[in-house]
């Protein structure tokens, strides 16, 4: 359950919720609806989001071993899926424990940060095309969390957000 709603549920134990709390609940419910729409969009357009990224990636790294490119793609297919769920749950810890903590050492060990960084930039740019501004703003904190965990202090050159 989303932590904000959970807090309201606890508040309601002693008394009816105040009007300001009801308003907060209404906002949370509306935000949940938008998160669900964003989630569905990411789910239904997964291939449409990633296929142009593949083409761009292959153009940028024509000499690179395709297996390595596939590996990086698989990482970000998973990361985006987990980001989408973390957005629904409004829970950065879900993202941290379910994938980032585990994946960050794997990325470091493969010394693929440059490739991963390029893919992140392409992904962000692609999501800016596919999602509305509002949808992107819901997802962005989690994408940023993933970028920081996996790519550390590498400066994103294309990311506008």
């Amino acid at each position: 359950m989303q932590s904000d709603i959970e807090t309201l549920v606890h508040k309601a134990e002693e008394d009816y919720l105040k009007q300001s709390d009801i308003e907060l609940f209404r906002q949370q419910a509306a935000s949940m609806q938008k998160c669900l729409e964003t989630y569905e969009c990411l789910r239904d357009r997964e291939i449409a989001i990633f296929q142009p990224i593949v083409e761009q990636l292959v153009k940028t790294y024509p000499q690179e071993n395709p297996q390595l490119l596939e590996k990086v793609l698989k990482h970000w297919l998973s990361v985006l899926r987990y980001c989408a769920m973390a957005m629904l749950l409004k829970n950065p810890e879900y993202l941290e424990y379910r994938i980032l903590e585990w994946l960050s050492d794997i990325v470091k060990a493969h010394q693929m940060q440059s490739l991963e960084s390029t893919l992140y930039e392409l992904l962000f740019s692609r999501l800016s095309e596919v999602l509305t501004k509002e949808q992107l703003s819901l997802l962005q904190p989690f994408l940023e969390q993933a970028r920081t965990a996996l790519l550390g202090t590498l400066e994103p050159s294309l990311v506008g957000g």
């Binding site: 997964e46 291939i47 990633f50 296929q51 593949v54 083409e55 292959v58 395709p66 490119l69 596939e70 793609l73 698989k74 297919l77 998973s78 899926r81 987990y82 879900y94 424990y97 379910r98 994938i99 903590e101 585990w102 994946l103 050492d105 794997i106 060990a109 493969h110």
Partner: protein, 219 residues
Amino acid sequence: MIEVAQLLKDASSLGNYFAPDVYVQGDYEFGLIENRQGSRLIALPEVLLQAIYAALEKEVGSSAGIVLFNCGRWWGKNFYRRFGEELSKYYDKPLAHMEMVEFLQCFKQCWKTHGWGRIDLDFDYYQQGFAIAKIWDSAFAKIAPQENCPTCFFESGILSTFFSQLTGCDLYCIQTSCESMGADCNNFILGLSERLKPVQSWLKEGQNHTAIMERLCRS
């Protein structure tokens, strides 16, 4: 050309199997905990661990360490089997087909989720025939009685069998620094028992981990 649709079919694209919120489950009201495969887990209260150390000290005196080391070896044998079974089922490939880095990451996460502390492995001495395991926040070191020698015998036993089974070589494991003696982490050396034989006497001489590694590499 790489096809994303194909990648999605191949890629199990799974995350962290040992994520604590999903790995440890159970019916807390009935006092049952189990892992995500449904195998029972047991929680060891501090007082029980303290009692094990105290009772062994009373019953077998200075041999308590050997007893705990052998318990660790038995534990490690089963731990390796379960670890291999669970991972190969989840990631749909045998342990031998996993990349080393993935395997190590799973091992580190598994160790942490079981509440044994944080573990890392250092292969800088691989060419010399040794590997180093470092453990921080060891639950065993925390409750071990204060001694003038390292006391994480359980862990030494677990690590020796786990890596013996993994590598197919009969490896021994000896601890060279201990949080219970004020060290910042617990260092364990893994290697062939013949080569690790002198370490015990160097520890008695009061040599620290770095000095022991230098002497081992020269030997």
